[in-house]
Symmetry: C2
Subunit: 369 residues, 2 copies
């Protein structure tokens, strides 16, 4: 116990803000333990909304140390769902929780395809959140497919049961982290992204025997704390990259710098460029699909229309992008060892309509109870 860790939450938060909000030259760092305490106070609503917002924006403006990021993550981890699932391997796809607004993104439809390739997978997201309020996995499920959202516990249990049955699912912060989910309106008041936007993509609400994470970084440099924390979280293999509009659709709009970390080892940097990784004919299809979708609106109806078209018959502009994303992740997480072979397998699965049926079955399953 140090003199700063006293029993008065208000005094503790005051002391943390005094230190981190002193400006570009005079701000002091918190210890890992202090950072964990600070975010715990915020999550548990032991301090006012205003003071929580002041802390969060100051923590970001100061720039977090690795110790602080680990402390903040520990506070989130301690209050996150922690469910063991009887699967040998499980991939979490964690795209930015504020969704996409510039280009339609079909990651929602890549998820059942990845499962069809033999790798169990779930998407972790939330209702559209600040600052972008774009389309998320959850927005497609609730807003478009009208999956029942409440009662929350029953909905969560159904999503988990569906994962075992279909080998893929989607989870929301509502299910995995109610305390963080409750902070959505406060985070909207803060305007800017805070450390929460980085760390919510590193939660591990489900635990299989082997755990994989595919996620994203906003700015170069964040891959360092992100891969360190993902290892701490228990992910056996983590890939962090800067894909299209910040998603895990890597390397289609420009070459992506991926950071792939296995266990506690330092991350290996991989330059992933769809234009060079796949055979020329495939690369051309991906490039022209990419050019085509840039003219489509990033709305749920457009995403659903082209996503379903791809899953039904392997046709339309979404198909090469969905196959590219699924193929890349399958290789990065050792399900395939060759990108083009993985891509071909993806196109076969899309063309036979089996993935579409699987998604329909999943949606029916969620609606039936």
């Amino acid at each position: 116990m140090t003199s700063n860790i006293n029993n008065d939450p208000t005094a503790r938060m005051k002391s943390y803000i005094e230190r981190i909000a002193a400006g570009p030259k005079m701000s002091k760092n918190l210890t890992e333990q202090e950072a964990e305490d600070a975010l715990s106070l915020i999550l548990n609503q032991s301090v006012s909304e205003t003071r929580a917002a002041v802390f969060l924006i100051a923590a970001r403006m100061k720039l977090e140390t690795l110790e602080e990021n680990i402390g903040y993550w520990r506070a989130l981890h301690a209050t996150c769902e922690n469910v063991s699932v009887p699967l040998p391997r499980l991939l979490q796809i964690a795209d930015p929780f504020d969704g996409v607004t510039r280009w339609p993104y079909f990651g929602f439809y890549a998820i059942p395809l990845i499962a069809a390739l033999g790798l169990p997978v779930y998407g972790h997201s939330s209702a559209p959140a600040a600052p972008k309020f774009g389309v998320t996995f959850e927005e497609l499920l609730i807003g478009h497919y009208q999956i029942p959202a409440s009662p929350v516990e029953a909905a969560r249990d159904r999503r988990l049961a569906a994962l075992e049955q279909f080998q893929f699912s989607y989870l929301s912060l509502r299910h995995t982290h109610p305390l963080l989910d409750r902070m959505a309106s406060l985070r909207s008041e803060i305007v800017k992204r805070t450390t929460l936007s980085t760390l919510e993509k590193l939660l591990i609400p489900l635990k299989a025997e082997e755990n994989f994470l595919a996620s994203t970084y906003f700015h170069k440099g964040y891959e360092v704390p992100m891969t360190a924390i993902a290892a701490l979280a228990g992910f056996d293999t983590t890939v962090i990259g800067n894909g299209m509009e910040g998603t895990s659709l890597y390397g289609v709009h420009k070459p992506a710098r991926l950071f792939r970390a296995v266990g506690q080892n330092p991350a290996e940097e991989i330059l992933f460029d769809a234009g060079k990784t796949f055979a020329p004919e495939t690369a051309k299809k991906i490039a022209s699909a990419c050019a085509e979708i840039k003219n489509l609106p990033a709305t749920a109806p457009a995403i659903v229309q082209f996503g379903e078209e791809a899953l039904e018959s392997g046709s339309g502009p979404a198909a090469p992008l969905i196959a590219c994303q699924a193929a890349a992740l399958s290789v990065l997480f050792n399900q395939f060892d060759d990108y083009q072979k993985a891509y071909d397998a993806c196109m076969d699965r899309l063309k036979d309509g089996g993935v579409f049926e699987s998604l329909q079955g999943y949606l029916q399953f969620l609606k039936n109870e």
Copy 2:
């Protein structure tokens, strides 16, 4: 009109926060006009408390440009009382509005003494405010002397009438700037000082023919925007210094660096050291008074006890400090041309008890209506 100045206050504030809160390397500056708009939105409660707090802490952590400070000051100035008073000259003493907590400070009692030397003067302060919540002029008046605080308009009118009658008075933000006064609890939630702490000391609620300001800076560097803004405000002569516990009792606990600006001219730096400025015997008295009061509590009862003792008979540890402060300000604002002569005049006034009677008369006057 630029594209950022649209009619939606929420969108405007969002855009301002996006720019200033991007962190140590990527934050952008606001124009003077944008800064004025931002603080106007906050003062008028056109944005949420949380968003106001986020803006204010981000503005400080980023460090304000001169343009931003001027813009913020313009927003405050536009919503400040603006009363002409029929006096040839008028000095405002603006010590930090969060008061003193370390050492008893007797500036409250220096004010009637300065008036007795022939320079009309008022103290501008507020109820004890964040972050220190120390003793202020207003705390002594309301908390200790039980001067009626409401109805606010009647109280303000009485304070103004008393200025003409007694040649000194005290005003609160409650009277001079209700919109800023209303932000006290929000400012307390922010924990750290914001630009408001600097700029409230540069308001000019009363205007005489010639206007003087004695105020203070927290950190070296602030004297530049402060003297620039004071000139803009219409102060003919401004002195900014770092006195005891950040007050305008300059040069007693250590040599003070004063910045004295006349009109629009650049400030002249003056090293003011009571130990060298006054005759040795006087310097010794000031030094031993300073040593003595450091052992006294910085509470209203202690301040009143020793302050009144000084005014009644020129005795006790507060007397040399009150005389030193009044003498320094009298010379800095050209009422006297010699520090020692001014000090001797001060001690004469204290010893004859006239200043005490004047303060009693002032307090009676405020109570009688």
